[in-house]
Symmetry: C2
Subunit: 220 residues, 2 copies
Amino acid sequence: MTSTEGPAQPAVRTRDAARTKAEILTVATREFARLGYAGARVDEIAARTRTTKRMIYYYFGGKEQLFTAVLERAYSRIREAEQLLDVEHLDPVAAVRRLAEVTFDHHEEHPDFIRLVSIENIHEAEHIAASAELSRISSPAIEVLRRILDTGRASGLFTADVDAVDLHAMISSFCFFRIANRHTFGALFGRDLVDAGRREHYRTMLGDMIIAYLTADRAA
Amino acid sequence: MTSTEGPAQPAVRTRDAARTKAEILTVATREFARLGYAGARVDEIAARTRTTKRMIYYYFGGKEQLFTAVLERAYSRIREAEQLLDVEHLDPVAAVRRLAEVTFDHHEEHPDFIRLVSIENIHEAEHIAASAELSRISSPAIEVLRRILDTGRASGLFTADVDAVDLHAMISSFCFFRIANRHTFGALFGRDLVDAGRREHYRTMLGDMIIAYLTADRAA
DNA sequence: TGACTAACTAACCAGTCCGTACATTAAACG
DNA sequence: CGTTTAATGTACGGACTGGTTAGTTAGTCA
């Protein structure tokens, strides 16, 4: 670690509250995701930043509030990604499939976020409940899905009378399980759900399943 | 706690290794499920049994091995339940639906087990890997599913060329997500996935989805 | 019935962990 | 340029935690 004393990194420590806060959040996200809430250590998080533990208490108040802040940032990033969704110019079937694929990709790209959500569920979402920001906002994806479903039903393409939140749960289930339960599933069934070679297979399978459900003839 | 000195509870402490071990496991299961691996306290587990902390180390060796033993017992109970599966006398469509329903019910009835699995995944299944018992055995449900799928394909009922492990993942995803992510999903979308009034709705939805997928015309 | 051992208990230890009191310094400001 | 204040660092307290040491008791079997 002698590189930190190189000429590119001047020894003078400039003060930058925003940068310090952001760095703490980045490190804390990694540590909480890696070890769980109780498993993560405040001292260790501090040691992995360029600042000290004192700053965590100065900016966030404590371990609990730090975890809440980590969740807030993680969720806000998804919302940003969801706001970039541009699927409503497609026909309903293609739009739903595209939405499922975007969800699939997002889960794969953010395993730390998936872990944080698992951890927060172990704690019965108490930090979300404690966060005004998190309990207020909702997901843009739901609104998009609602509109696609309306269009699809109106044009007679979709036979199923599903509601957007339920369909979102259905799509998320598979994407979430694949990442979150990768390890136990792999250990017990000898199949790595996140193997790169099977990625397209699962991505297609998810889309097929959702479309099959929405367009099935539910006569019985 | 004066009741422990009542006449129904004789003060004489009878020695019973099996009972003591079982009681430790039961309490440890609850505590680990409630608080996570790092969050659970060996002292607290001991305090909630009728024995002492020393016995945990005497019988299990340490916290890590205790957690492994908890997992082993939890998984062995599922396997027992799966061995009671009796669906192969049904036609393939009914059999798959029944299997999905049994899985659905099992998840709902064992939230502690779901939490343990989530926790074990945070730890990247290291305890399963450390357990000869767990890494050896496989799931009876997979074999049952494989046979149903074969029959269904042979009779032309199922168009999808799915493999049993993937379909098992698909079914488990929804059942698992519904229980495991109940809290964050409820907090963010204002819908309790485990609400008793919506139970039948989700149970049917899962079956519909699986059957739709298996019987869909995948021409495109 | 007395020696032996598995089952059990209480007390403790060394290291860890969250949080804080206190001191200090870089920037903002008039 | 002197004062103020936000930002930062040091060092440590006190409670806790996993694990252990040393000793006790109930059952059993020769």
